[in-house]
């Protein structure tokens, strides 16, 4: 029997998400009393910053908690820090986002804070049921947030498309869970692993793996489950677009890492896995990059770019060797967090100034606002993977993982080398559309009567934080790499 003191012991590990859950409820209730929704921003900032601080405390437990539902290990703690940090920046970005109706700020912030808690729960769930619940928790909050601009037709359409697509993918994923349960007789990931120990791969487990990949692939925007991305990204309020592209993507990768690293090492899965994930990853990055080239809307372009980035990260999964894959994926996500959020900060400023988000609106930005133009330049360089910026470190590690897999003679090594080549070719395609934006900013002249963009305090803070950390991950990667390798899942 679990007593109060033992439960209290276990609750300590859930402090960050506990704080966020309480803060979310408090914000929603305060919204009833407070007249001006804006006064709730400090509360949301305090909650996210507090959650980040609590997540940085070295409170880890490799023991399963709450009857095996949750494992609050170092890996989960990494994604807690990640999610709280992303949440803090997104709250900062929302403060000056003009289209957000002031009446609904309370609901917006409450749901956003709850969605952050959902990412944390997703990263630490070790039971299929709990994974499903936290994934749905995150999805449902995201659907509402995407449709938050109620008077905007695009926002409503985006929300509906996201919802229909999400419901479908979740159903397929649940079917995969059911098959996995049928094959192993348990919902607990460690028990499933034990049931699979030294067992031959069967068609049943292959099918389960594929179905589960559909559900998680939807969250990380993997081809062919990417169709919602451009519309949802374009229609959603821009801070929410930023949140989707970073927060829920990271949540998807976290659960992907945990499920596939816990469950499948016992199986003789490797050749199938290598081919399926590798080919999907190459498709993901190619589709994202090629379609991005013809986009004129900045949010759509960054949406396709985020599909391509998901493809790069997925290539890390091809090797399925804990020593390489996890640090590579985690450092990539860290760099991606800052460079992508930074790019969205610039998009918000442009939209506040001109009322739309087309590439043409960036014309002559270097004359109107050198700070914005140069920051955007840095973020785009980093997204394209140019040294010495954060994105380059991430891409380098993914590339190195593939090459190491080849050199160490893992099975399917030759294929890995080809995947590495595909990664390199795709980086070149990506450079084209990133530099299209740069060309508009530096080599085209502003249309007449284009206002000078004004950057307020919160957006400026978010911009500087993203800028500094994009540089920091690229120039001094060692502390980040050490941290990331310490936070990786224990090898089994």
């Amino acid at each position: 029997m679990v007593g109060a003191s033992e439960l209290w012991q276990q609750m300590r590990y859930l402090m960050p998400e506990g704080l966020l859950l309480c803060a979310g409820l408090v914000i929603l209730l305060f919204d009833l009393v407070v007249k001006k929704g804006r006064s709730l921003y400090p509360l949301a900032m305090l909650a996210t910053a507090g959650a980040a601080a609590l997540a940085l405390l070295p409170l880890e437990s490799s023991e399963p908690l709450f009857f095996g539902m949750i494992q609050s290990d170092a890996f989960a703690r990494y994604f807690k820090v990640f999610s709280a940090l992303a949440g803090f920046l997104v709250v900062l970005m929302s403060m000056d986002y003009k289209p957000l109706p002031a009446r609904f700020v309370g609901e917006y912030l409450g749901i956003l804070v709850l969605a952050l808690a959902a990412i944390m729960l997703l990263a630490e769930s070790t039971n299929l049921l709990m994974i499903f619940l936290s994934l749905e928790f995150l999805s449902l909050s995201s659907y509402i947030l995407v449709g938050f601009l109620r008077n905007d037709k695009k926002s409503k359409e985006a929300s509906l498309k996201y919802f229909l697509f999400g419901a479908m993918c979740t159903a397929v994923m649940l079917y995969g869970f059911a098959l996995l349960y049928g094959a192993s007789g348990s919902l607990d990931l460690p028990a499933i692993k034990a049931a699979f120990a030294n067992r031959q791969n069967t068609p049943l487990t292959c099918l389960a793996m594929l179905f589960i990949l559909a559900g998680f692939g939807f969250k990380v925007a993997m081809v062919p489950f990417h169709a919602w991305v451009p519309d949802a990204y374009e229609g959603a309020p821009t801070p929410i677009t930023a949140f989707l592209s970073v927060g829920s993507k990271a949540g998807g990768f976290a659960v992907l890492l945990r499920v596939f690293f816990t469950v499948f090492p016992g199986l003789d899965y490797h050749p199938y896995w290598l081919a399926v994930v590798g080919v999907l990853a190459v498709f993901t990055m190619t589709v994202g990059n090629v379609i991005a080239c013809s986009q004129d809307n900045l949010k759509r372009l960054l949406g396709y770019s985020s599909i391509a980035q998901a493809g790069y990260v997925l290539l890390g999964f091809v090797v399925m060797d804990g020593r390489f894959t996890q640090p590579a994926v985690m450092i990539y996500l860290l760099a991606y967090l800052f460079m992508n959020l930074g790019a969205f900060v610039v998009v918000i400023v442009i939209a506040n100034t001109t009322g739309q988000e087309e590439i043409d609106d960036l014309a002559g930005l270097s004359e109107r606002s050198p700070l914005l133009a140069w920051s955007m330049f840095i973020f785009l360089l980093s997204l394209a993977g140019v040294p010495p910026l954060g994105g380059w470190i991430g891409k380098y590690y993914i590339f190195a993982t593939l090459v190491k897999g080849y050199l160490e003679g893992l099975s399917g090594g030759n294929l890995m080398l080809w995947f590495a080549v595909a990664l390199a070719v795709n980086s070149v395609i990506a450079a084209y559309y990133y530099f299209r934006i740069v060309k508009a900013m530096f080599f085209e002249h502003a249309r007449e009567r284009m206002a000078r963009p004004v950057v307020g305090g919160p957006l400026l803070t978010a911009l500087y934080v993203s800028l500094i950390l994009t540089f920091a991950v690229g120039l001094w990667p060692q502390p980040f790499l050490n941290w990331v390798s310490r936070m990786a899942l224990p090898l089994l």
Binding site: V2, G3, L28, L29, F67
Partner: protein, 122 residues
């Protein structure tokens, strides 16, 4: 595959019985329709207008809110039954505390929808 033969035979029988019944009654059954027999059955009340019309979205909201408290009741019943069980995973005091925590979160939600005016019909 042999062990599934029974299922296949059962499925075939289901099809024959269900389809055959419809077919036979369609072929040999007496048919003298009156207007009363042809109207859709609405619990014995004459239907008012067509069913294919637009309904206010308020019905949907009330249905969703009802579902929420319906499920709350479901959880409470399970907890109440578990309370007497000798193989309780938690101590009783803790279980009661969990119950109160669950109810207070739901209560906060109820307070919220109430104050937001989701329960007002007009």
């Amino acid at each position: 595959m042999a062990e599934y033969l029974g299922v296949v035979i059962f499925l075939a029988l289901v099809g024959i019985v269900a389809g055959g019944g419809l077919l036979v009654s369609n072929l040999f059954g007496p048919r003298n329709p009156t207007p009363e027999k042809l109207i859709p059955y609405e619990c014995g009340v004459d239907p008012v207008g067509s069913a294919k019309e637009r309904h206010p979205v308020k019905f949907y909201l009330v249905a969703i809110l009802f579902l929420l408290f319906d499920i709350e009741f479901l959880f409470l019943v399970i907890l109440a039954i578990m309370f007497a069980s000798p193989q309780l995973p938690l101590t009783r005091g803790l279980l009661f505390f969990e119950l109160l925590a669950f109810l207070s979160i739901l209560g906060a939600g109820f307070f919220y929808i109430w104050r937001k005016g989701a329960l007002e019909w007009d």
